[in-house]
């Protein structure tokens, strides 16, 4: 038995308590309990052995060789296809650009085909992304929640009709060809949907779960897209404050990655994560008690600014910050424990390692895309200032106008 909605709430604000709670095997993931109308039985909300089995299979789509292929071979094409029209116009809304960029990338990773590869098709998929994202983060929505739920379920049905069904059918046919020996394994897509279809029986995944599970990876695009806008904002502010008029900072990809890790620490995709206690008390190593059946609010925004871990300037953006080897430079923004973000390396790359050659290091999609944006002369829009998002309690931008040098 786990906590109900009327359970006592315990808020954890220190890095040590938050980290331990996220890794604690007795504390169940509860962040998305309000979003079960969309996420029930998906990997995001499973617990225990069922979660571990599903996660091991889905992790196959995020292995280093696949991520390296995306970063080095596919990202530039997706950038050109998506950002090209905005560069032609010399301006655009970075929030929209970032969502389209990461969405197109995530569709590839998830296994959602975009047969037309037109801006109109991208716009349509982007509409689904917005609805599914709002559904998954309904806990933080400031809108009428019944209205949100209706919109989200309608969007899910349309997503199935317009994108998912054909993507599934194509992969099932390829898998059948593979089993018949007419194609080799290397000809199968290495995306989440193909992986799930190949192991569907073994995992016990019902057909009606598949589009929601795959849609989840589009939702992941929402958080990565927000990080692009946050990182651009932090970099622009940093360069202005340090008098970096020639914008040297944005020309060093390794430094851009460091900036991303610092930016994501200050701007965690979710301000807090919830965990539910079992029907017995849990005591953390610091002595903090979590009563039986309590809900645990793991306050990432506070934990990531814990001065005992990140220093007295913990609330400031400092990409040259040094932290203990025991501490993640990105704080707990990607979570920890069994529900750690599956797309962390895809978005943020691998930790810095001076022994790894630059050509094989994974910098992550977000740093690489931001680097490319600056390569095309991104500057703040001269007339239109950025505006914060109004529909959520999360720290997000609603509009971030930018200009490009032609």
């Amino acid at each position: 038995m786990y906590a109900s909605s009327t359970a006592a709430m315990v808020r954890l604000t220190t890095y040590a308590d938050a980290r331990e709670a996220l890794r604690h095997r007795e504390l169940r993931e509860a962040t998305h309990d309000e979003a079960l109308f969309l996420l029930d039985n998906t990997v995001l909300v499973l617990h225990g052995d069922a979660h571990t089995r599903r996660r091991r299979v889905e992790n196959r789509a995020f292995r280093r060789d696949i991520l390296g292929h995306f970063e080095r071979d596919q990202l530039a094409d997706i950038f050109q296809e998506t950002v090209g029209p905005f560069i032609e116009q010399s301006e655009g809304n970075l929030v929209e650009i970032a969502h389209r960029l990461v969405m197109n990338l995530s569709a590839t990773v998830a296994g959602v085909d975009r047969p037309l590869r037109t801006p109109a098709e991208t716009d349509r998929l982007y509409e689904f992304l917005k609805h599914l994202s709002e559904g998954a983060t309904i806990i933080d929505s400031t809108r009428d929640k019944d209205e949100v739920r209706t919109e989200v379920l309608d969007a899910l049905d349309a997503f199935k009709r317009e994108f998912y069904s054909a993507s599934e059918a194509r992969r099932r046919a390829l898998i059948a060809d593979f089993h018949a020996g007419t194609i080799g394994e290397e000809q199968l897509p290495r995306d989440v949907l193909t992986t799930l279809l190949r192991y569907q029986t073994e995992l016990g995944v019902p057909d009606d779960l598949l589009p929601r599970e795959v849609g989840l990876y589009l939702v992941g695009a929402h958080t990565a897209a927000n990080q692009i806008t946050h990182l651009v904002h932090e970099l622009l502010t940093w360069m202005q404050q340090t008098g970096d008029k020639t914008r040297v900072a944005a020309k060093d990809l390794r430094f851009v990655q460091r900036c991303m890790l610092e930016s994501v620490r200050l701007n965690p995709p979710a301000p807090s994560l919830l965990r539910a206690a079992p029907d017995a008390e849990v005591v953390l190593r610091t002595g903090r008690s979590i009563p039986a059946n309590a809900l645990v609010d793991v306050d990432l925004a506070s934990a990531n600014r814990d001065p005992s871990v990140f220093g007295n300037d913990a609330s400031e953006f400092n990409p040259r910050r040094e932290v203990s080897p025991e501490v993640y430079p990105w704080g707990l923004s990607f979570g920890a424990g069994t529900h750690v973000c599956i797309g962390q390396e895809m978005a943020a790359g691998q930790p810095m390692d001076e022994d790894v050659a630059p050509e094989v290091h994974l910098y992550g999609a977000v740093p690489r895309l931001v680097y490319m944006l600056f390569e095309h002369g991104l500057t703040p829009h001269p007339e239109r200032p950025p505006v914060a998002a109004g529909h959520t309690r999360r720290r997000e931008w609603g509009e971030y106008p930018v200009a490009f040098a032609r």
Binding site: T52, R63, T338, I342, E345
Partner: protein, 74 residues
């Protein structure tokens, strides 16, 4: 290399963070869980310890040559 490692296969989620950080030390077995490779003996102790610390579920334990647990040691 002086360190020894043990992977708890029950809790490993196959995140691949150890494989990504130390590809000569860790690989995936047939169940998609992390598995130490024979070539782990060629990998620096510090790299092995770093890989263990990256594991999101602390599935990798690292021991020194005297058998003392260095990580997670909680």
């Amino acid at each position: 290399v002086n360190y020894r490692v043990a992977v708890d296969k029950e809790i490993c989620i196959g995140s691949g963070k150890c494989v990504g950080h130390a590809p000569a030390a860790f690989g995936f077995d047939e169940n998609d869980t992390s598995s130490p490779l024979e070539s782990i003996n060629t990998v620096a102790d510090a790299t092995i310890l770093e890989a263990a610390k990256l594991c999101p579920v602390s599935a990798i334990s690292v021991f020194d040559s005297d058998g003392r647990e260095l990580f997670p040691a909680e």
